[in-house]
Amino acid sequence: MATSEQSLRRKRLDRGIKARADTIFAVASYREILYLMLPRLVPVGLLLVMPLLLQGYWNKVLVYACMYGLLALSWDFLASCGLFSLGQSLFFGIGAYLAGAMNYYLHLPPLVTLPLATITGGIVSALLLSPVMRLRGVYFAMVTLMLPLLLMKVIETTGVFGGTHGLSGLSPLPHDAFAAYLAVIAFLLCMFAFRRIINSDYGLVLMAIRDDDRAVMSGAINIYWRKSQALFISGAVGAFAGALMTHHYQFLGMSTFALDYSILPVAAVALGGQGSFAGAALGSMILVPLSEALRALGGLRIAIYCMVLIVSIIGLPEGIFHFLERKYHQFETVSEVK
């Protein structure tokens, strides 16, 4: 008998625990509970503890990361609705300018400007983008790209709200740790809220609008009203991030409309994976500290975000989060084919 070549076959199997625990959440043992809860509890716990552990520079990095995280979450939310924005900096800048102006000219304290800027920012963003929300993805993206640049140039040319130099000496937040906790809690709340919303019937309608808006229209649903609601929600989250940053750095300037704030959220979601919000969070938690570590490289950082973006879109379209999620739930074995 001739020796037969052994051919090997790779198999991917769900872990036993996942097969049992997947859809039925009445789990049977502590081990299964831990299996489900650990990936959720550990990062959240870490984030909640970090403001106490980090001081000074790295505390600022944490705030930065949560801020970008909010922008990424807001991008992911809009994307779930079919609206792909290349201009998160629009929401960011609007929130920044609203909070900064209210603080500078009206002397309102941060605890008042923050909520006001959030809500008003959401309304203004929704109003600005409503005329173009009926456009197909590419063209909507173009408008979102141009609007912040337009606003930036208008501010530069007319010199309003401090013009090129901006406004400084704005009121700070009570305490560094306060700012950090505000950022972290807002970030976590936003992520959980978005996940809940998307999994609800309301979110179902939004995602259906993305997949087939004519079918949704035949179901007597005003898709444009729903889209503007999504714009308001995302805009408000982005505006909050902008308002927070303005008070944290006590400075208001044109740079809030810069490309950075538009590109990094997209890169973060591309890296982490669109649709799960956890991917957006993961992506920003990786990119922001990384970029801070590479601070010395200056303008090259944006080039790096861009390359991360490109590589993620082409090489790993599902994103890191989905990849990790799959790996967590599966294991691979190699077996012989007999």
Partner: protein
Amino acid sequence: MSGDPFLKVEKLTKQFGGVLAVDDVSFELNEGEFVGVIGPNGSGKTTLVNLITGFVQPTSGKVLFKGENITGKMPYTIAEKGIARTFQMVRLFYNLPAYKNLIIPLCSRRVRRLRGGKYGEKDDAAIDLLDDMGFERDSFVPYKTAGSLPHGYLKRLDLARALALRPELLILDELFSGMSMSEVASTLPLIEKFHEEGLTIIMIEHRLKELFRVVDRVMVLNFGEKIADGPPHKVMDSKAVKSAYLGIDVEVESP
């Protein structure tokens, strides 16, 4: 207002560039009627539906529903008023469970207004409706992913989506295309039942035998024009319809 016909289409015309898809079509419908619309492929039937339901803007003409002018309004506004439709190319969300497809119309203001139900009861309503349509609840069929269901089920799901709106006027666009005889046989009584309960129905079909069994009035379109309108047997006897379906009128010469 009470003297107005249920649906009135007045000289409706649609031109796509050089093509006249719908040519000066007019008709009236009374409440509770069950009307069929037939015609060769490309005769403008689907365009007519799109014009009535707002998916396409007419070049000229008017559509009046219960006396109200709905010409050119947005599809969701028209659906809100009580006109529902199915699609020739089934438009479903294949990655969702079957019953979730119904959640979308159930989320509309119209249904909330009519049902007055509490939030959170939509799932039950969806499963109930599907169960009535033949998706056996006990076999968990409504929970299956829409993409995994056979074609006949998909067409009925599309119908369920339209019915979930609790419409007053239902327009069916080739519902039976692609369905087997048994599927048609099980779906037809359903539609008849809804008609008996007061639903006004316009049914576009190619399967004339089944259609003529249920409708008492038929309209025939050819090249966008309405060439006949009346009881089925009279319409099928008319010269215009015969030449449309069979080509040039041929006189049989006696040898």
